[in-house]
Homo-oligomer: 101 residues x 2
């Protein structure tokens, strides 16, 4: 269940693009796009953004979901996954406070 894939598929259909047209527009093989939408292959962030642009949609939420999926994939069904996420969050917040930019 790749929510990014499903979301992008819906967006594509609403925007009236066939799989082929969309694939050509962002310069990838149609087979890859097909697989990505169905969660059989991973997206790259670049492609997510390109597709969002193509469909005239803001990409922020899609990117966030994309990253979230990536993180969850990395964690697998790890026993301490939740704890790890909380630690990671703390680190990020700490970093955010103590950096310029």
């Amino acid at each position: 269940m790749s929510t990014v894939g499903l979301q992008l598929r819906e967006l594509r259909e609403k925007a009236g693009f066939s799989l082929r047209k969309a694939a050509v527009a962002i310069d990838i093989d149609v087979a890859i796009l097909s697989k990505m939408e169905r969660g059989e292959r991973k997206f790259s962030k670049e492609l997510v953004v390109k597709l969002a642009d193509l469909y005239k949609t803001n990409s922020d939420k899609l990117v966030i979901d994309y990253l979230s999926e990536k993180v969850l994939y990395e964690l697998g069904d790890e026993e301490f996954g939740l704890e790890a996420l909380k630690v990671a969050e703390k680190q990020l917040i700490y970093k955010k406070i103590n950096t310029h930019g």
Copy 2:
């Protein structure tokens, strides 16, 4: 700055193992262990646990830190990293509630 690496280095020294002895004990090349402790190479979870065992330490916190580092590495300096972590957390919690085990 790999906290897992530093933690394991301290633990090793406190446990009185030389790099070579520890590497032999867990059956890896000493060069790899050296690099891992200094954050030049990634650990695997298996090695973290093996080392914790060798040093007679509970591995839970180390594993959590290991996973956290892995996640943060994946996110890089992504603008929406924090948001992604929060989404991932929600997913995990949701999953935890709705599964047996």
